[in-house]
Point group: C2
Chain length 285, copies 2
């Protein structure tokens, strides 16, 4: 498929696997100061954003990831008022967060403005809430932003980043997690995309260890499908400050005033069912 | 990747997607009277069986599918003694079923003996129970077998087939489901792999409708990840005769004497959490 103009193919060398989508044309591309962003029109998955050769999202299946990075954490926190999104430049996570009427402010910090400009053009549905008065979009270094954030000023931090290589690398270490923990109020929760349970277990284990090492009191890793990411199976990990992670506001989720395509109460609960191989791999962390 | 000897790539045209695994060599191939069977050695997923160009299973991830096709149905039936497997020639489902000590007989009917011969050679771990005295392996037409089965003689029928094209086609229609229902005792359950929730919804809807049309009283579609199948997300559907499908023997599953890599009580319960888009699509069936 590679070398064939009718396909975009991502080869994931660490697991010897590849995933491709049939494309009708390349819509756009830009070399930003940080990365190479390409946009394709696919035959069956709508538009496709690729950064440095790695698939970021498609129109058709991004709802899985964006909903799972937003609603479980917001319905686990008792009263999330102030939310920070690190990364998330396509604005899909921002849109989901803003569906929660009780959220008062959402600050999104993506290092690369070009990601948002591309998304406004090719994923307008994800950017439909960008002008919500509760939203602030900053284009800056998320690591620095968290390091300089006022202590105990945030309820929920969502790290919606690329993989832990390139610009995303500094978002997967103790220094960053320590900054996040300090910025969170008591009971606050950090949630971060944490790669594939099938092919990235060492990374997931390291992430969880690092979150514990900086003093987060309780963790929960959630599983969900994501067709366009390696293995088609993905996770996010929540880390809570000062309290256990068991606080799912089931009644509030059931009574939610907004609609979702994937998320619901049963899906939320199901996402924390760990397969045996995962329990075994993470039993000491 | 296609045209490159270092990859095996399956293009799934109906969704404009493709999945590939890096291979080190082709191990074997045979043209049986029914289909073309190829075996590859991959770099990261062990051995890979391909039938008529479609990926069937890899050493590394087949546990997901085989466990989910076996344990949920056997822990839902109150007392499964006599089990029939239609298809399943790689013997992975058979191995899982035989882990249940209370099962007295398992009859596997795959039309193609060459699938089993290949599996014995390249997936010996899946065939380790083939000589269990409770197991009978027949190489014959599963449709005919079910049509001629004695009425009310079977507790559980597992349809572990290829896709509904080629030899597997006749396993996805009313005539076959009617034969299965007649062969089941009261409370008996048919379970069948039912493709991807993301890209095969019309097929899943038709299957469920056909199962209801022939008189099955209650259905349950379970979801699970399966990296090597299109979209990486798969389902199986249970159809029960004479009783509702709500009979999960949770205590027995929790006390199971055997080990599994994916399946456990929480995973079983989680598998029936339907996403909103699926509820909407299947609301009338």
């Amino acid at each position: 498929m590679s070398g064939d103009n009718n396909w975009f193919t991502e080869i994931f060398a660490p697991s010897g696997s590849a995933f491709g989508l049939a494309i009708t044309k390349k819509l756009d591309e830009v070399q930003s100061p940080f990365q190479h962003i390409e946009m394709f029109e696919t035959t069956h998955f709508g538009n496709l954003m690729v950064i440095d050769g790695v698939i970021m999202l498609s129109s058709r299946d991004n709802f899985l990831y964006h909903e799972m990075l937003s609603h479980p954490v917001l319905f686990t926190h008792a009263n999330p008022k102030n939310v920070v999104i690190i990364g998330g430049g396509d604005c899909g996570t921002l849109r989901e967060v803003l569906k929660h009427p009780d959220v008062e402010t959402v600050t999104q910090i993506d290092i690369d403005e070009q990601v948002t400009r591309m998304s406004e053009k090719y994923f307008p549905e994800l950017c439909e809430s960008n002008n919500d008065p509760r939203a602030t979009l900053k284009f800056d270094d998320g690591i620095k932003f968290m390091r300089e954030a006022a202590p105990e000023s945030v309820d929920v931090i969502i790290v919606d980043s690329t993989d832990p290589i390139g610009p995303g690398e500094g978002l997967f270490n103790r220094a960053f997690y320590d900054s996040c923990r300090k910025a969170l109020r008591h009971g606050g929760i950090l949630v971060q995309q944490s790669e594939s349970p099938l092919i990235h277990m060492p990374l997931l284990k390291d992430m969880r260890q690092a979150m514990q090492d900086v003093g987060f009191d309780s963790l929960q890793t959630l599983l969900f499908p994501q067709m366009v990411y390696p293995s088609g199976w993905w996770t996010c990990t929540m880390a809570r400050k000062g309290e256990t992670i068991n606080g799912f506001r089931e009644a509030d989720a059931a009574a939610a005033s907004f609609s979702t395509e994937y998320y619901n109460v049963a899906v939320h609960q199901a996402a924390s069912a760990w397969p045996n191989f995962m329990k075994k791999a993470l039993q000491n962390g």
